[in-house]
């Protein structure tokens, strides 16, 4: 691997994220100095990630007249997010990467919300974690993550954010719990932005970095209730 790649050309990259109710597939072009969106499909339906994602991948390929074999890399949102839906994006990326023999790169899904939203001031990015909790992270004015990702009740996230001088919140979780968070909410992005996720992986793509295992950011242990011991049946 050479540090400087001569004759670098634009490559086509697939981005998938299924960490929120929004199921996203996008194609982006990564060139030596830019990341540009080519096609995107995003559907908000928390219960149909498994049905929606593959047809959307197919659709963005068709939109650009590309074939899967034309892809140079795949970027996947690692969550955090509700487990069942989150796995759909990761298994899709991993299996496609395996067949195509191309690298897969993971990005924290909250970065796809917080990084583009941080315009000079610290921002709290939050998505819905169900059970009255949020997945959250805090970004500085330059879009660097400085806290999280964590999962907490909104009040705890708000307190941590205040301690980091956050003045604004963003993301679906911020909309949902705006009253508890007590912060003004920026409208966009509400869900992880595919182009932002690609930008955050662009250096790795350009450098031809090794493929990464796509390990989900679950942040919660599985609900595994040990089976109770044998209950006597005799009175």
């Amino acid at each position: 691997m050479t540090a400087v790649r001569l004759g670098w050309h634009t490559v086509l990259v697939l981005v998938v994220d299924s960490s929120t109710p929004a199921v996203t597939a996008a194609l982006v072009e990564v060139s030596a100095d830019a990341v540009a969106a080519r096609a995107q499909r995003c559907t908000v339906d928390a219960r149909a990630h498994g049905e929606l994602l593959a047809p959307q991948v197919d659709a963005v390929l068709a939109d650009t007249g590309a074939r899967a074999a034309d892809l140079a890399a795949i970027v996947a949102g690692l969550g955090p997010g509700p487990f069942t839906g989150l796995r759909v994006g990761l298994v899709t990326a991993a299996t496609m990467g395996q067949v195509l023999g191309i690298p897969t790169y993971g990005v924290c899904s909250l970065d796809g919300i917080g990084h583009p939203a941080a315009a000079g001031e610290p921002v709290l990015a939050a998505s819905d974690a169900r059970r009255r909790e949020v997945y959250w992270a805090v970004y500085d004015g330059a879009g660097q993550r400085i806290a999280g990702p964590n999962v907490d009740v909104p009040a705890v996230a708000a307190e941590r954010a205040r301690g980091l001088a956050v003045t604004i919140a963003v993301g679906d979780g911020a909309h949902r719990y705006a009253d508890v968070l007590g912060l003004p909410v920026r409208g966009e992005p509400r869900y992880p932005d595919a182009t932002a996720l690609a930008r955050l992986a662009a250096e790795r793509i350009r450098a031809g970095a090794p493929s990464e295992p796509l390990t989900p950011l679950y942040l919660r242990r599985p609900d595994a209730v040990a089976a109770t011991g044998h209950k006597p049946v005799l009175p």
Partner: protein, 348 residues
């Protein structure tokens, strides 16, 4: 034959990540990764633990299967995947994986019924299935009797358990006897040294009044309770529990009902082929009893070898191969994982 279709099968409905590859009726690869050890301390399969394990296992299991078969994904003609019934989150990993492979390699995908796949796997060992046939499918998740007129298009449920699955009863009785999870193989092992006639445990839904309404249904909850009462009574009396005898007598009661009802289904419909599948079909007593009693009625029993009876990818590939050979159209790319997929639907 080299011109028969090359089919890949993916199974993730419970705690086994399976990838199988067949050409026609010939098994080329059967790679498996199991999360069973992670569930053992809970005494049953924990769905989220199983789903997490499937995500980690699917790519390496696929790699192993392709190496075993000496093929690449590009050589594959179609991909079959269990779309139901089973654990919703676990099924979803396999279905999404199948679609990822299908989209990347531009192959058709078939979402198939897990239970029909348990029937189809027998074709890898015994060739095409004579139709009609009766199938008895018994595992930790299901206990069903069905009539198979056309495996490619639909099967007819005759009966199923009204409470516990047969394999569940094995797990529960094993725990009662201090044997590890999963209980089936341990009961089988203990029972070899025991007396199957030591205790006459109840045979569920075999009394005349029950047969009127539940001729082909099963019930194992009463049997489990009867074993528990018997064991507790001994323990309270300070007497040792004869584990081998209890295991043998319990196993005899389960097998007696399963075989009795399956053969009744054959004889009442004049069908001469009985296929037995599912994890409990690996039980040595069930296999021997079925062979023995069926022979007396001129019925042929087809039971795949034990490692094809438990959940695996080869069974899904076998059903996919049958569907392709039968000219069934592939599924759409938006095919769902359906945890309650009915038996009447073989592919979606």
């Amino acid at each position: 034959m080299a011109d028969e279709p090359l089919i890949l099968g993916i199974e993730t409905s419970c705690d086994e990540t399976g990838v199988g590859i067949v050409r026609g009726h010939t098994l080329l690869a059967d790679a498996l990764a199991s999360s069973v050890e992670q569930h053992a301390r809970f005494g049953g399969v924990v769905p989220e633990v199983a789903s997490r394990a499937h995500l980690e296992a699917i790519v390496p299991t696929m790699d192993r299967a392709l190496k075993q078969a000496g093929v690449t994904i590009a050589d594959i003609d179609a991909i079959a995947v269990t779309s139901g019934p089973g654990l919703a989150g676990a099924l979803l990993v396999g279905v999404a994986a199948a679609k990822g492979y299908a989209v990347a390699a531009e192959k058709p995908v078939y979402g198939v019924n897990h239970l029909a796949a348990h029937v189809a796997v027998d074709t890898l060992e015994h060739g095409p299935l004579p139709e009609p046939a009766i199938a008895l499918l018994v595992s930790g998740g299901h206990s069903s009797l069905l009539r198979v007129d056309d495996l490619a298009r639909g099967v007819t449920p005759l009966g199923s358990t009204i409470d516990d699955a047969a394999g569940e009863a094995f797990d529960k009785v094993a725990r009662l006897l201090g044997l590890p999870f999963p209980g089936g193989p341990w009961i089988d092992r203990e029972a070899r040294a025991g007396d199957p006639a030591a205790t006459a445990f109840p045979r569920g839904l075999t009394a005349p009044k029950d047969l009127a309404a539940h001729r082909f249904d099963f019930s194992f909850s009463g049997l489990k309770t009867a074993v528990a009462r018997w064991v507790e009574a001994r323990q309270r009396a300070g007497e040792p529990v004869p584990v081998a005898d209890v295991a043998a007598s319990f196993q005899e009661a389960v097998c007696d009902v399963l075989v009795g009802k399956a053969l009744d289904a054959c004889r009442s419909s004049g069908i001469e082929t009985l296929v037995i599948g599912g994890g409990v079909a690996a039980n040595s007593r069930l296999r021997a009893m079925a062979e023995d009693r069926a022979a007396r009625h001129g019925i042929r029993v087809r039971t795949p070898r034990p490692n094809l009876c438990t959940d695996n990818g080869a069974m899904v590939a076998a059903l996919g191969s049958h569907l392709v050979a039968s000219g069934v159209a592939p599924s759409r790319l938006d095919l769902p994982a359906d945890s309650a997929m009915p038996l009447t639907v073989v592919s979606v």
